[in-house]
Symmetry: C2
Subunit: 263 residues, 2 copies
């Protein structure tokens, strides 16, 4: 099965893209709802918790692991690849980065994410690794996740807060904006109204699903081990807050999640 994990329920925006681009494969999802959010926690904890989750996913039948959480991708992806050297592990940062480099014309790229993701500098380092002449501007948007979790997608307060976060990036003249948090695709309409048509918005979830699909085509051995079918499994470490609203928003439907008490 394809293992996908996130700090909470937001990672279902990634599951949605996997359902779209890889509809045949069974998914095991884990959301660490007991310890969320990850975006304001320290690198050491994120590494420790991510490792625990990968162990759980392997035990439950995952043959590959997708890190849906941007903060975990930023702090823990390299660490996890060392800890589990034989497991194919995919993170959500690189696919969005590659897409941004493809799309940008003026070489000015904006990144919005949690305080942890932005602080890690992961996007900046990877972007400059591809092309050192890029200009990169990043902005933590700590209030976006709580706003989304309340379902306050189109409220005037949300628009006003988005304006506050995005106007410094607009002023810098970016032509490409990476949504570096699982919840932000749900605010895409609000964001795009502020950024306007000239700024292209990248949802890395889509790019990750496509990249993984291409990987499978080239790696028949891995592909062979993945179970097919619609019998997906969703696990959480605590009863999720506003679960119905959120799963509906992220995935377009309600799902049942099993509670795992060992976290």
């Amino acid at each position: 099965m394809i293992g996908i994990f996130d700090s909470g329920i937001g990672g279902l925006t990634i599951v949605k893209e996997f359902f779209k681009y890889l509809p045949k494969y069974q998914i095991i999802y884990f959301g660490d709802t007991a310890r969320l959010p990850y975006g304001t926690k320290s690198p050491n904890l994120i590494k420790k918790w991510s490792k625990e989750i990968v162990k759980f996913l392997i035990k439950t039948g995952a043959k590959v692991v997708i890190i849906a959480c941007h903060t975990s991708s930023a702090w823990a992806a390299d660490f996890l690849k060392k800890e589990f050297p034989r497991l194919p592990i995919f993170e959500i940062i690189t696919p969005g980065i590659k897409q941004a480099i493809k799309i940008t014309k003026n070489k000015k790229i904006g990144i919005i994410g949690s305080p942890g993701t932005i602080k890690s500098g992961a996007h900046r380092k990877k972007l400059l690794g591809f092309n050192s002449t890029l200009k990169i501007y990043s902005q933590p948007c700590p209030l976006f996740v709580p706003l989304v979790e309340e379902g306050w997608i189109n409220r005037p307060e949300t628009k006003s807060i988005a304006e506050e976060y995005l106007s410094p990036l607009k002023k810098k003249g970016i032509d490409t904006l990476i949504l570096a948090c699982t919840h932000y695709p749900l605010l895409k309409n609000t964001i795009s109204k502020i950024t306007g048509k000239k700024i292209k918005i990248i949802n890395p979830a889509k790019d990750l699903a496509i990249e993984f699909k291409n990987f499978l085509e080239k790696n028949k051995k891995v592909k062979k081990h993945l179970k097919k079918g619609k019998n997906h499994h969703f696990f959480v470490s605590d009863e999720p807050y506003n679960f119905k609203i959120l799963s509906k928003m992220c995935l377009g439907k309600n799902i049942n999640a099993k509670l795992v008490n060992s976290f």
Copy 2:
């Protein structure tokens, strides 16, 4: 020492009142910054985590324990009193309730708190236990904590969100409002501008400190065991987010906190 614990840094608003009303006594503070927030987590986890913290406080020298967190007070106080029958344990709900009953004239009381605190119904049950004719109106305010943690105390967006949360309570004609979350006293100015002079606002932190002071006067044995001095200890389970801003806001000064890795 006096042990005080909270889900995070907000409990320092309670420490501030203890410094004011009981300035002689040493305090051990623990903020569960690794697993915060508690306000959207489930009762079982809150109980389990609160028990771990009380064990830590006892081991570190606490002779009494103050539950600063309203959600933990709501879900875990009775449980903790059973688990630690010989330890004097104080929670933050009852003192605010008593004060509200003293103050209200029209018997209409409003409560604002985290989704967990409100869902627990702890305030409602206790209030009706004292006086079954009271009318009680409660409102979860999930965006207040993230707004405070960003230092967005006086922003127009904060005022607008506060208006949204408070107007249903105003319409009900409450004359007393309990701030049932450690962070909310920091929004008192914004809140009181909306509620107006006719609604009295209760900060239970103050009432808890006074109640505890009175308890000590009557319980010389406990008093005798409490250490005196200014050598306070602050512990956290993760490097706290926005720590400098928050400790300054809550306590009026910067403090040093020690990281405990065992949580």
